[in-house]
């Protein structure tokens, strides 16, 4: 009886528990998963996100001079599998849950990012410029490597250079 009166008194002081949402602000949890965001600075075009996408919402178009990653918002089920599998952490989910829209906007709700390839500074072949953060990770602790220059060296040429550098350091 006393505990019930306590709840009654608390409810009287607190007022209604209805969320004032369409008229006022609402709450959102920290972990809420909303719209997808692709970072073209980091996306290498490996396609592991497309391979793992549950609802086939992602589409990767590979061309000679670049690649384009597209996500249709109305097909993405926000499972965040792409976020988990992306080796470059190029995909994030925004906490944007405002999804209601009119039918006219249905096919306009896409996230599309393109990456342009640039010629390799050694052999001239078109290659995706390597992000500086990745090179820093690859050549961590190597002081004799100029990571700045290597952003525009294609994987084949980089392998050759690394082999040439390492051949003198082999244990006898």
């Amino acid at each position: 009886m006393a505990s019930y009166l306590k709840i009654l008194l608390r409810n009287l002081i607190q007022g209604p528990s209805t969320d004032p949402f369409p008229a006022g602000p609402t709450f959102e949890p920290d972990s809420i998963r909303g719209k997808i965001r692709i970072d073209p600075e980091l996306c290498m075009g490996c396609g592991i996100c497309v391979h793992n996408c549950v609802s086939n919402a992602l589409h990767l178009e590979r061309r000679e001079d670049g690649h384009t990653l597209t996500c249709w918002d109305n097909l993405c089920c926000r499972c965040a599998t792409c976020v988990m599998f992306c080796p470059m952490k190029a995909i994030t989910l925004l906490p944007d849950w405002h999804t209601a829209h009119y039918q006219d906007d249905k096919y306009a709700r896409i996230e599309q990012k393109s990456v342009t390839y640039e010629p390799c500074s050694v052999c001239g072949k078109k290659m995706r410029p390597v992000p500086a953060a990745l090179l820093k990770k690859l050549y961590a602790g190597k002081t004799d490597v100029d990571a700045e220059r290597l952003t525009h060296v294609c994987p084949d040429c980089r392998q050759l250079e690394d082999s040439k550098r390492n051949i003198g350091q082999l244990p006898a």
Binding site: P16, S17, T18, D19, F21, P22, T26, I32, V54, S55, N56, W72, D73, N74, L75, C76, C77, R78, C79, W97, H98, T99, A100, H101, Y102, Q103, K106, R109
Partner: protein
């Protein structure tokens, strides 16, 4: 003011909602029930009220990817709703097929058969997102009635 106009103006207060489950997994249906039934997201503040009969409905909320088995039944119930009606596709499935897209039992998306007015994607959408969709649907419904607030 003649009777028709008065009725129009009074009915603006209450666009009644009707739910159709077109083969949904029940996730979106639970969210729809949440928007109406629990006091936190009280949809009745907007004058909306769930009705059990399609003939009383103004806004129809459809969930599910429109399976082959249920397609004709959904179309039959949808035809029974009087004009002007607003169709809201709730969840990914009626909009694009979602995770069931291109399955052998799926005959969607919904707008192949029914003119959809408002979409609210999500798997499932938040109750607040559904509230937003109901607000959009209400505005469109008022426009169709020729009554602006």
């Amino acid at each position: 003011m003649d009777f028709d106009k008065l009725l129009k103006k009074k009915s603006v207060l209450s666009p009644w909602l009707f739910r159709i489950n077109a083969g949904s997994c029940n996730g979106c249906d639970v969210e729809l029930a949440t928007t109406a039934l629990i006091p936190r997201y009280d949809v009745e503040r907007l004058g909306c009220h769930y009705t059990g009969s399609p003939r009383q409905a103004d806004v129809v909320l459809i969930t599910g990817p429109l399976t082959r088995r249920i397609r004709d039944k959904v179309l039959r119930v949808w035809e029974e709703i009087p004009q002007p009606k607003i169709t809201v596709a709730v969840g990914l499935c009626p909009i694009s097929g979602g995770v069931f897209r291109e399955g052998y039992a799926i005959d969607g998306p919904l707008d192949k058969y029914i003119p959809v007015d408002v979409n609210v994607p999500g798997c499932p959408p938040r109750p607040q997102a559904i509230m937003e969709a109901v607000v959009l649907a209400r505005q469109l419904w008022l426009k169709k009635l020729g009554v602006e607030e």
